[in-house]
Amino acid sequence: MLNYLARRLAFGAAVLIGTSLITFLIAFVVPADPAVTIAGAKADPQTIALIRSQYGLDRPLYVQYWRYAERAAHGDLGRSFVRRQSVTRLIVDRLPATALLAVSAMAASLVIGIAMGVTAAAYNGRPVDDALLILALTLVSMPVFWLGTMLLVTGGLYFKSFPLGGLAGPKSLVLPTLTLALGSAGYYSRILHNNLAEVLGQDYIRTARGKGVSRRETMTRHAMANALLPLITLAGLDFAGLLSGVVLTETVFNWPGIGRLAFEAIFNLDIPLIMGTVMFSAFLIVVANVAVDLLYAWLDPRIRLESA
C-alpha cells in the first residue's frame, strides 16, 4: 500500500510539472512580448525596459521558468499585473464562495443522478427506463450558461422566488446549484445504470436472490456497493473541477468565485493570474486523482492486492 501511495504521488508531481510547463509556454512564448502586454501598447520604450527587468523578463526562458516553478512549489504564484496583489491571496479569497457552490452542486448531482440511475435500472428496458435515458441525454446536452439563464428567468423573474444573482443567503445558492447539478446528474445516472445492469447480471446477485433476499435489498445492499465504485472516480474529478471555479455558471449568476476571477484575468490578459488559476485547477485535479486512486484501493481489495 505504501509503495502504491509513493508511486501515485510521484505520478501526481510529474503531471504537475508538465502542466506548469504547458501553462508557462502558452503564457510566455506565444505572445510576442509580455512586457508590452503588461505596459500596454502605447507605453514608451523606457517603461517597457523597466518592466522587463522588474519581472525578470530579460532573463533566459529556462531561468524564468525555474523561478516560477520554484516559487509555485512554495505556494507563491506571483503577483497579478492588474490587481497588483498576490495571485495566491486572490485565489484563496475567492475560494469560500466557490467551495460552497462546489459542495452543494456535488451533493445535488449525486442525489439526483443516483435516484435517476437506480430507477432506470429497476425498470430496465421498460418505458420508464427509456424516458429517463432521454431526460439524461437532454440534461447532458444543455449548455450550462443557457440553463442558468433560463432558471434565472423562471425562478428569479417570473416566480420571484430566488435572487437574481450574487451570494446572499441560502436561497441564492439554489439556482446556481441546480444549473451545475442537472448536467452531471444526467451523466451519473447513465453511468450508474450501465454499472448496475452489469452487476445485476452477476452470479452473486443471483445467489442472493436465490437465497430469498428481496429485490429491493439485493439492489441497495448487494448491487449498489459494486456499481457505485466507478462513480467515485468521476465524482472525485468533477469535484476538483467544481472547486477550481466554474466560469460559465459564476458568470451567469455573478457569483464571487474563482471562475469569475479567471474570467477577469483572461479579459485583462493578466498573465500571472491566468497561470495561477490554471495551475490551481490542475493542482486540485491531480490531488483528486491521487485521492480517488487511494480511496479506490481502500474500498476495493482487488486493486490493492494487484499492485502489492
Binding site: P31, S141, P143, G241, V247, V278
Partner: protein, 271 residues
C-alpha cells in the same frame, strides 16, 4: 422487437441532418437578412409575431434569421474542431497503442498532463492571447479536447495489435505503417464514429461557451452562444431572446449525442 438504440440513432441522424441542411440552405430559409435591422424596434426587442416568429432583438434584427445563420457558424466550428480533435486523438492513440514502450509512455504522460488542465479555461486563455478568429477558435477547441479520444483509441489498438491477424500480417513482412492503416485502423472505425459524434457535442458546447463569454467568432457573424449573452440584459422584458438560441444549441448537441449513443448501444449489443 422494438429497438430503442436504433430509434435513438435514427432520430439523432435526422436532427444532425436537418441541422446541416439548415446551415447549408441558410440564405434560402432565412426570412430576413440576419445582420440588418428589419423591424423598427431599436432598443426594445419585439415579441414573437407573425412576421417575426421568434421576435426581434434590441437592434431590430430577426431572431429566427439569426438562429438560421448561426447554424452555419456552429456547424462549421463544431465539425472542424471535432476533425482537429479526432485527428490528434486518433494519431496519438494509434501510435501509443501500436508502438508501446517509450513512445507510449511519452504520449500517455502528455495525455495525463492535458487531462489535468481545465479545458474551458485553457481554451479561453489561448483564444484571448491569440485573439479570436474562426480558425483560431476551432484549432484551440480541438487542441484542448482530444485526450479522451487518445485514451480510448490507445486501449483498442493495444488489444488489437496483439491479435493473431496482426501477428500474421507482421510475420509476412508488413511494415508498421501498413499494419496500422490496413489492419488496426479498420477495426477501430466503429469507435472512431462514436467518438466523432459524441466529440462534436463536446466541441459544440465548448464553442457555445466561448461565444457566451465573448471569445467566439467576432461579430457581426451571428453565433448562438453570443446571442444568449447579448440577451441577458433584456431578459426582464424579452426572455425569448435568450430562450431560442439556447434551444438551438440544445437541438444540435442532443442530435449528435443521440447519434453517438444510439450507434454505441446498437453495436455493443451486437458484439
Amino acid at each position: 422487437m422494438r429497438s430503442p438504440a436504433g430509434a435513438m440513432e435514427l432520430i439523432g441522424a435526422l436532427m444532425v441532418g436537418s441541422l446541416l441542411l439548415i446551415a447549408l440552405l441558410a440564405p434560402q430559409l432565412a426570412p430576413h437578412d440576419p445582420a440588418r435591422a428589419v423591424a423598427d424596434s431599436f432598443g426594445d426587442p419585439a415579441a414573437p409575431s407573425v412576421s417575426f416568429p421568434l421576435g426581434t432583438d434590441e437592434l431590430g434584427r430577426d431572431v429566427l434569421s439569426r438562429i438560421i445563420y448561426g447554424a452555419r457558424v456552429s456547424a462549421t466550428v463544431g465539425l472542424a474542431a471535432m476533425t482537429v480533435m479526432m485527428t490528434i486523438g486518433v494519431a496519438i492513440g494509434l501510435a501509443s497503442g501500436f508502438f508501446g514502450g517509450a513512445i507510449d509512455f511519452a504520449l500517455m504522460r502528455l495525455t495525463d498532463v492535458m487531462l489535468a488542465l481545465p479545458a474551458l479555461l485553457l481554451a479561453m486563455a489561448m483564444v484571448a492571447i491569440l485573439s479570436p478568429s474562426l480558425f483560431g477558435i476551432l484549432l484551440v477547441i480541438g487542441l484542448v479536447s482530444w485526450t479522451s479520444v487518445a485514451r480510448v483509441i490507445r486501449a483498442e489498438t493495444l488489444s488489437l495489435s496483439q491479435r493473431d491477424f496482426v501477428t500474421a500480417a507482421r510475420s509476412l513482412g508488413a511494415s508498421p505503417l501498413r499494419l496500422i492503416t490496413h489492419h488496426v485502423m479498420p477495426n477501430v472505425i466503429p469507435t472512431i464514429i462514436v467518438m466523432a459524434a459524441l466529440g462534436t457535442s463536446t466541441t459544440l458546447l465548448l464553442d457555445a461557451g466561448l461565444s457566451f463569454l465573448g471569445l467566439g467568432v467576432p461579430p457581426p457573424t451571428p453565433s448562438w452562444g453570443r446571442m444568449v449573452e447579448e440577451s441577458t440584459i433584456y431578459f426582464r422584458t424579452a426572455p425569448w431572446m435568450a430562450a431560442f438560441p439556447g434551444l438551438a444549441i440544445l437541438y444540435a448537441v442532443l442530435g449528435f449525442n443521440l447519434l453517438g449513443y444510439g450507434f454505441l448501444r446498437r453495436h455493443s449489443r451486437r458484439a
